[in-house]
């Protein structure tokens, strides 16, 4: 690896961290505005002027300046480490997410596999936080979270296998490339009904992966107070908070990549080829990609402010008795269909 490649890698890394932080700040503001307008309210309107755009920045500054409280009875190393592990899990996923044809951290030939593996890190972080807090509410939250995320990993992976089978590849870029040429070539539309079923299952299961309503039982504030992060305050709490929004973007980005054409525009003429302009192609591709992912993030928020929360046994029932059989049958049917087609 020469110096230039190293520099590009470092630049990309810094860029991703910057993007994640900015997106999380934006998403928190967006969540407030979306929820407010769904509830006949205005949401933040003062801070920073136009529609309270800098409210989240002010909040982050406040959280940074707060006293860092570590209760005496906690398991110190684990308690300190947990938020960073959760955040790392969210951040590491960005390495294989293709923002544009020429903008990807590492186009691994096992991209999907890597993604599933690192996003499971989050469970470990949450379990650490819940156990180390030495608090019964936190322990309950962590236990629920571990059970939920481990269970929902299976339908997520099975539904991701459908596009993988169709593309005959685990590389994220390859998964996007087969969807070129207009929205009717996107996986979700081009292989009806299998891909559509897979997309729906993926989206719902991913809500459980990121602990969003109706699957937000690990932190169900009215039952478990705040769940696994009940003892956290200040910047450590902010890390959990940012990680939640970064994770929302990750699952939405994966859905956009493998099902909704990734960085491809809905109509071919709206794209810019790398041969025309290297930078332009990156910008246009990223724009389409972020728009799609943000739309899915919006849908996640929409559901959160509409639906009540499930109970823990109902959550498990849905996973093991509904999502799992359907996604399994789906994978089998796709495999059969591909085998018959030859």
């Amino acid at each position: 690896m020469n110096v230039l490649e190293l520099l590009i890698a470092v630049a990309f890394m810094v860029g991703v961290i910057g993007f994640v932080s900015l997106f999380a700040l934006f998403a928190i503001w967006m969540e407030r505005k979306v929820s407010a307008h769904m509830q006949d309210r205005l949401g933040p309107m003062e801070t920073g002027g136009w529609h309270g755009w800098s409210q989240t920045i002010a909040d982050t500054v406040k959280l940074l300046l707060k006293e860092d409280i570590i209760p005496t009875a906690v398991d110190q190393p684990l308690f300190r480490m947990a938020p960073y592990i959760v955040f790392t899990g969210a951040l590491a996923s960005f390495a294989v997410i293709p923002f544009a044809a020429n903008l990807i951290g590492a186009d691994l030939n096992i991209g999907v596999y890597y993604l599933v593996a690192v996003s499971s890190l989050v469970v470990i972080g949450i379990l650490m936080a819940g156990w180390a807090s030495n608090n019964k509410w936190a322990l309950y939250g962590a236990m629920r979270s571990a059970a939920q995320m481990v269970s929902y990993e299976i339908p997520v992976v099975l539904s991701l296998l459908v596009p993988v089978l169709l593309a005959q590849s685990l590389s994220m870029q390859k998964l996007v490339e087969i969807q070129a040429g207009g929205f009717w070539h996107w996986t979700v539309f081009s292989h009806l009904p299998f891909a559509l079923v897979a997309f729906v299952i993926y989206f719902w299961a991913s809500l459980a992966e990121v602990n969003r309503t109706p699957f937000d039982i690990p932190e169900a504030e009215s039952e478990l107070v705040a769940g696994y992060h009940v003892e956290y305050s200040g910047m450590r709490f902010a890390m959990f908070f940012l990680a939640e929004y970064a994770n929302m973007f990750v699952v939405a980005a994966v859905a956009a990549t493998v099902f909704l054409g990734g960085w491809h525009a809905p109509l071919p003429f709206l794209e810019l080829s790398t041969e025309v302009s290297w930078i332009g192609s990156a910008v246009v591709g990223t724009a389409w990609f972020v728009v799609k992912a943000t739309f899915l993030v919006f849908v996640q928020m929409w559901l959160r402010w509409t639906l009540p929360r499930l109970r823990v046994d109902q959550l498990m029932r849905i996973c093991w008795k509904v999502f799992l059989p359907f996604s399994f049958a789906n994978v089998l049917l796709v495999s059969l269909w591909l085998a018959v087609k030859g």
């Binding site: 929820s35 769904m38 509830q39 006949d40 309210r41 019964k136 309950y140 309503t213 109706p214 937000d216 039982i217 169900a220 504030e221 009215s222 039952e223 107070v225 402010w305 509409t306 639906l307 009540p308 929360r309 499930l310 109970r311 823990v312 046994d313 109902q314």
Partner: protein
């Protein structure tokens, strides 16, 4: 009462249970109640309940004040629907005195009682659903409650602690635009109720969370002294407004919804239907609202106009006689029990008079005490997450529970 040592020995050897104190500082416990839970995983193995965090000594305070001064303490019983408490207390004292309030007062008391009932049910449904995760319903309900608060403000200038009735009438007549203001709000309230209905009643997640949770069978509900929506949800069509009519409820056409299962979902449905029935009563009462005075014209009960107090000696002496320590209203010796249908059930005032200027004894029968006492029975065997809808459905209000 917390989980005792015997309790612990009873529970612990059988299963690996975890003791967990839920409340009083817990988002779902409103800061005024504590559940001591023994948990077997996600299941509640045993539970006891601690009450009394909001005890203010209502009965003692009433004994120390004159008959009219006690009214402001009734505001603080069920502070979500304070006007019904005002009405209940005043009806009891009026029965002791043997006076009948003028028809306009009776109609206004009915209108405001029913609007308070809508307000209380909206709050109960809102809090209950919010605690199961659907925040939006909560804000819709609060928006509608705000409209009723505006009407309450028209009547007495206050919103929560109304102090609106007086023994023998009301503090003042309502403004001239009161009937129109209420009429204008009724369709808007109906719209919000239908919005809530569309959002949750047939929502699969909501039904899964609420059906067959916290079931209270018919006979047990009766023997435990349930009243109000929780009793009706268990299938008993008992309503004080119809079975022991007070004010002029026998003149109105309204229905009493009855549930079949006695679960949390039925209690929600009963409350939803009752709001519609209350609005119907309000409409009928507005149509018939007569003109006339709002207080009895008896100088030994009703305060004189301020114009008379400052303008002539008779008015001044009259005011003096009613206000000064040891004077004032003196009902004849005797005792009375007057019940009204509060949003949570039968709200009763048992008052003993010895002919003095203040009550000898005033006992309030809080409708949510029997409901709260049944909490452990309803949550044992259910899951931790079910505590929240069950607790929300009994609509415990600390003010009246702890007295």
């Amino acid at each position: 009462m917390s989980i005792t040592t015997e309790h612990r020995e009873l529970i612990l050897p059988q299963a690996e249970t975890m003791l967990l104190g839920m409340g009083p500082s817990h988002p779902a416990m409103h800061g005024i109640i504590r559940l001591n839970l023994a948990l077997d995983g996600e299941r509640v193995a045993d539970a006891t309940i601690d009450i009394g965090f909001l005890h203010r000594g209502f009965e003692k305070m009433v004994e120390r004040h004159t008959w009219n001064q006690a009214i402001i303490y009734t505001d603080r019983l069920n502070y979500v629907s304070a006007m019904i408490n005002n009405v209940g207390y005043c009806l009891a004292v009026e029965r002791l005195l043997g006076v009948e309030t003028p028809p306009r007062c009776v109609y206004l008391r009915v209108i405001m009682s029913e609007l308070s009932r809508v307000m209380d049910h909206l709050t109960c449904i809102a809090a209950q659903i919010m605690e199961t995760g659907a925040m939006t319903v909560f804000l819709y309900c609060m928006k509608a409650r705000e409209w009723i608060y505006e009407v309450v403000e028209m009547c007495c200038g206050a919103r929560v602690t109304t102090n609106w009735t007086r023994v023998g009438g009301l503090m003042a007549d309502v403004p001239a635009d009161f009937p129109d203001a209420v009429r204008q709000r009724i369709p808007e309230l109906r719209f919000v109720i239908s919005e809530i209905d569309k959002l949750v009643t047939r929502n699969r997640i909501f039904i899964d969370r609420y059906r067959n949770v916290g079931v209270m069978p018919r006979d047990e509900a009766i023997s435990r002294g349930f009243t109000g929506p929780c009793l009706r949800a268990s299938g008993v069509p008992f309503d004080v407004r119809r079975d022991q009519p007070y004010l002029n409820y026998d003149e109105f056409d309204f229905e009493i919804p009855v549930g079949t299962n006695g679960d949390v979902y039925d209690r929600y449905l009963v409350r939803m239907f009752e709001m519609e029935q209350s609005l119907r009563i309000v409409e009928q009462a507005l149509d018939k609202l007569p003109e006339g005075p709002v207080s009895v014209e008896d100088k030994s009960i009703t305060l004189p106009d301020k114009k008379d107090v400052y303008g002539n000696i008779e008015g001044l002496i009259n005011q003096f006689k009613l206000i000064m320590n040891g004077h004032g209203i003196k009902p004849p010796p005797g005792e009375v029990y007057q019940a009204v249908e509060a949003p949570n059930g039968e709200l009763g005032f048992y008052i003993i008079s010895t002919g003095e200027a203040s009550p000898y004894k005033c006992r309030c029968r809080p409708p949510c005490l029997p409901l709260t006492a049944a909490m452990p029975r309803m949550i044992i065997g259910e899951m931790v997450a079910d505590i929240i809808p069950i607790f929300g459905s009994i609509n415990m209000i600390g003010g009246e529970l702890d007295g």
